[in-house]
């Protein structure tokens, strides 16, 4: 059996500013190519879980990405394999021009210039924002920024995608394009969302967090909906 794309084993996270644990004894895994929705109410720990998977918050327990255990020494290697979408797209757009921001992951990998331009253009077109390549990011709407940030996460064809509220701020056609695009990728995905329609359309498995603990992990959408309501 192949290695899971992402595995949490008894992972807990406790912020310095808080006495309570934000994540408590969380265990699950995401198989290669599997699309998993991470559900939960506000403050249930979804964003913290995603951040812990890329070493942005200190954790106890074991986190594995592919065959690599998350540790200080392995962080760069692990981060290269992951496409990450923050829940506020503006925070992760670091360049003033759309094409520059989207291309950044490939530029860092030292790929040839022509290949970088072609790939960045391809991703932008696939998200329906090819015409924005030369635009300054400050002139974009929230939904457009969301797509630019997504393009930056997808451009290097990562094996694992961690997406925090990817459909937030998108109009219905934008959500359709995004769901269609993500469904066509081979990458494993863990998608934190409140958008159940989007999650059920795209994901085959659902993990529900409640106060930092896994309250449900399964494939039955009826059960998910019951728990949700």
């Amino acid at each position: 059996m192949s290695e899971p794309a992402l595995a949490f084993r008894n992972v807990s996270v406790c912020y310095e500013s808080s006495a309570a644990r934000t994540l408590s004894d969380v265990s699950f895994s995401v198989a290669a190519g599997e699309r998993v929705a991470l559900l939960g109410l506000n403050g249930s720990g979804k964003t913290t879980l995603l951040k812990s998977a890329v070493g942005l918050v200190p954790h106890e327990g074991e986190i594995r990405v592919g065959d690599t255990v998350l540790a200080r020494q392995t962080l760069p290697k692990i981060r290269e394999r992951i496409g990450f979408l923050f829940n506020v797209p503006e925070d992760q757009i670091l360049f003033p021009r759309v094409a520059d921001d989207v291309a950044f992951a490939l530029v860092r990998q030292g790929r040839p210039r022509d290949e970088i331009s072609a790939r960045a253009t391809e991703v932008l077109h696939s998200l329906g924002i090819g015409h924005l390549a030369e635009s300054p990011v400050h002139h974009l709407s929230h939904g457009q920024k969301q797509r630019v940030a997504l393009a930056g996460a997808l451009v290097a064809v990562p094996k694992l995608l961690l997406l925090d509220e990817p459909s937030a701020g998108l109009d219905p056609p934008g959500k359709n394009v995004l769901a269609h695009l993500l469904a066509g990728l081979d990458a494993a995905m863990l998608i934190a969302t409140h958008d159940l329609a989007f999650a059920t359309r795209l994901c085959t498995r659902f993990i529900m967090l409640e106060r930092g603990r896994v309250a449900f992990d399964g494939t039955d959408t009826a059960e998910v909906l019951r728990d949700w309501e």
Binding site: F84, D100, R108
Partner: protein, 253 residues
């Protein structure tokens, strides 16, 4: 439509935009240095400064409205120094000479300040933020320096928009109409707005770390090879800078 400060970046339409970004930055730097070095209160020095400012404005050609706006800003900033004249002590010399001495000092400040403001504005207008990044990347600077400079400019624009949203929210919620409500909101603003800025800074730092923004060399996508026009413009700017140094060194009036 109102123009915001970050719209100033890259708004010029002069011949200088045909040069590569690093040349534009160097020309702006050389023009600024010329104005700071040439003696501002002698005829020759003043002429060098005036010609440098006029030439750089003509080469950059920012919108006239912007030029006038910044000229006004410069006057507002530096003319008030003349008001300090009556407060300057005679310092052992005759009163008239003391006044003259004070006037020369203030005029020096005014000329240098005005020229600095106008040249900085024209330089900013001649490069878009992307050009700034390209230019800094091509200059022999540590990657971290250009990365941080670009990020400061980029995030300042983001904060500007955030501040605008906060201002809109204040207006909608009745905080701009004066009275007790306005004071209440204004009083709580630092406690709301500052933590938001700190939170944002934290999140941006996370994104920079995750995306490897400050690791290794700052790389560039575009080709920015310097051509004959770039070298000629740089040679001219260095010649003028050299002239300013000579005028100052030899005390030419």
């Amino acid at each position: 439509m109102r123009t915001h400060w970050h719209d100033l970046w890259g708004c010029s339409r002069g011949p200088v935009v045909r040069l590569v970004p690093q040349t534009r930055l160097l020309l702006g730097g050389a023009a600024f240095a010329t104005c700071m070095i040439a003696p501002a209160t002698t005829l020759t020095g003043g002429l060098v400064i005036a010609v440098t400012v006029a030439a750089w404005l003509a080469a950059s050609r920012p919108p006239m409205k912007t030029v006038f706006g910044f000229a006004l800003l410069g006057l507002l900033l530096f003319v008030p120094t003349l008001l300090l004249l009556p407060l300057m002590p005679p310092n052992g010399v005759r009163a008239a000479a003391g006044w003259k001495h004070g006037f020369v000092a203030s005029a020096n400040l005014l000329v240098r300040g005005m020229s600095g403001v106008l040249i900085s504005m024209a330089t900013i207008a001649s490069v878009s933020v992307s050009d700034l990044r390209e230019g800094l990347t091509r200059l022999p600077l540590p990657g971290i320096v250009s990365a941080i400079v670009v990020q400061i400019v980029h995030q300042t624009a983001t904060l500007f928009y955030e501040t605008k949203r906060v201002a809109s929210a204040m207006a909608v919620r009745g905080a701009s109409g004066g009275g007790r409500a306005a004071w209440q909101v204004l009083w709580s603003l630092p406690r709301v707005w500052l933590p938001r800025i700190v939170d944002r800074a934290d999140r941006v730092a996370d994104a920079m770390e995750l995306r490897g923004y400050c690791e290794g060399e700052a790389l560039s996508l575009r080709s920015s090879r310097m051509r004959a026009a770039d070298w000629a413009a740089l040679a001219l700017a260095l010649a003028v800078l050299g002239l300013a140094v000579v005028i100052r060194g030899r005390g030419v009036t």
